[in-house]
Amino acid sequence: MIRVEGLHKHFGGFHAVDGVTLKIAPGSITGLIGPNGAGKTTLFNLIAGTLPPTSGHVFMNGEDITGLPPHDLFHKGLLRTFQIAHEFASMSVRENLMLVPGHQQGERIWNTWIGRRRIAAEEEGIRKKADEVMEFLTIDHLKDERAGNLSGGQKKLLELGRTMMVDAQIVFLDEVGAGVNRTLLRTIGDAIQRLNRERSYTFCMIEHDMDFIGRLCDPVICMAEGKVLAEGTIEQIKANDHVIEAYLGTGLKNRMIKETSSE
């Protein structure tokens, strides 16, 4: 699905991403973990075209997509969400969602004046889809609310909803669960799993909540200091000495030892 080869990003002398090579298998939910400043979000930015890489390549289904602008990647089915939820604050939730599908009839300037019936027919379909998405995410009571007034967690749901408005192939989720309460987190987790199963979305998600990762992700990739540290199932990662040292800390290891000894 996605193949990253020798990707580097240098900010001056600082190597934020330092030679990352990894693969994301189609149909998987890949977790990306690592300490703060490990280069996870920068890696997302490089893959999603928000930043140009210093060197290296990104392939999607065998095609070189390195450095393509984000809107081109969007039309290829590569979507992402932001760590700090973004929204069009002055528009309603529904308008936010209806804006998403690209290449709409109404985007052509002549159609605005002469093709109004065609636009209306198309928008009817998009509106229905937006309503479905809002129902799926249990935010349908907020449909006319200004997006800027939503709570942090609701904005995260809106971010997820945005990716559901089109048939995405792969979605990069940047800390979709951060700052979200437990119930909402379960809703988001369920939504991700359903999308993965029913609509065969591939996901790659940055997350710090190890329980959340453990429930959803296989495989898990751990990054530190711009490099891939380890890759494997959640159990393998948790038991990996490098990962424990760089990220999880010995506290977890001790706890795990205690748990295993008590069993």
């Binding site: 969007f74 069009f88 528009m91 998403v100 605005t112």
Partner: protein
């Protein structure tokens, strides 16, 4: 209680009552005369000028909101649009086409808009796009736009000359001062210039279309989305080059309409448009950069302040306070210094409310 008890004591004498009423009537007429003079020399010109500034400021504010820089070339884009329309008008007049009582320029306006749209799109392709791809800082784009300003300025002068050009035809007045006096019997006349009326009507139509476009159409919404959050707009699949193109086309239309209306109402002289840049920017900033409603409000605030402060109130004062015979003109500021008004308001707004009256983007 009897009726007599209820009448106030000061009306008990009949003569006194009549005298009181007569003086009230004369006071009323004086007040009306003062109002008509004020309307004729301050309100009407300010409304027309305000509409022109508002249209200009809308263009500036759209460039700022969507392309994220202050376009110094806007005044000269207006001059270019007016020039293109004037050339079209002259051609139509030579062909014997007329739209009497409306000015022929209205017929030439669509062609002028098209020419200006082509011109700004070429400038964008040749100049701005390079800096956009470099992701240059806004301040670099501002300096670049100053370069574009000088080139456009030179081009307009080269094509049409530096002199004043008159191209207004059709009826000059809807109602002249004399007709108004005969009609009402007042001492003061109220002249309504047809160009002023036209300015206001066209401005209202243009603004209505613009707001409908921005709020109700998909293209308008993607433009607002782009202005709101560029990163997110890109990741929602909105094509930035297309948004930029639409923005330029709409800005060209706004600039041309504003330029032509200003030229019709006053007269066309390339240098005047360069000078208009200051009040236009002041309007956009006072209203809040990036906010279309603010741009319109700002245009009227600046226009009313400028006209009111530079108007000689001697006549109006003479009606209101007959006993006072002022020696001067009762003028706060000579019209030579009218640009100082924009500056003054600009400074006050930037000091006390940097985001403008309608909370645009902070400077």
């Amino acid at each position: 209680m009897s009726v007599a008890d209820r009448t106030p004591p000061w009306t008990s004498s009949g003569t006194c009552r009549i005298g009181f009423r007569l003086s009230r009537l004369e006071d009323g007429l004086d007040f009306l005369n003062a109002f008509v003079a004020f309307a004729n020399f301050v309100m009407l010109p300010a409304v027309a000028y305000g509409s022109q500034l508002a249209l200009g400021a809308l263009g500036v504010t759209m460039i700022y909101g969507i392309l994220r820089f202050s376009n110094f070339a806007h005044g000269d884009t207006m001059a270019f649009g007016a020039m293109a329309t004037i050339l079209g008008t002259w051609w139509l007049q030579a062909m014997g086409v007329s739209l009497d009582p409306f000015p022929t320029a209205l017929l030439a306006l669509p062609a002028g808009i098209a020419a200006t749209a082509v011109f700004v799109l070429i400038t964008d392709r040749l100049v701005y796009r390079f800096y956009r791809e470099q992701k240059s800082a806004p301040v670099i784009l501002v300096i670049v736009s100053m370069g574009v300003m000088f080139v456009t300025n030179g081009l307009v002068r080269f094509v049409i000359g530096v002199d004043e050009q008159r191209f207004a035809d059709g009826a000059r007045f809807i109602i002249t001062a004399r007709e108004f006096k005969e009609l009402t019997g007042l001492k003061e006349g109220l002249a309504i210039k047809s160009t002023a009326m036209l300015t206001v009507v066209v401005a209202i139509i243009v603004v209505a279309i613009l707001f409908w476009f921005l709020n109700r159409t998909r293209t308008g919404k993607s433009m607002r989305a782009f202005s709101d959050n560029e990163d997110l707009a890109l990741l929602s699949g909105i094509n930035p080059e297309r948004v930029v193109m639409f923005t330029w086309i709409m800005v060209a239309a706004l600039a041309t309409v504003a330029g032509v209306l200003y030229g019709l109402d006053k007269s066309f002289k390339p240098f005047n448009y360069f000078q208009l840049l200051l009040p236009i920017f002041a309007s956009a900033i006072v209203g809040g950069l990036g906010n279309p409603i603010g741009a319109i409000a700002g245009g009227f605030v600046i226009a009313f302040s400028e006209v009111t402060i530079t108007y000689a109130f001697k006549k109006v004062a003479g009606y209101l306070i007959p006993a006072w015979e002022p020696q001067g003109l009762v003028q706060l500021l000579s019209t030579d210094y009218k640009f100082a008004v924009s500056f003054g308001i600009l400074i006050v707004v930037l000091l006390f409310r940097p985001t403008g009256l309608f909370r645009g983007k902070a400077l």
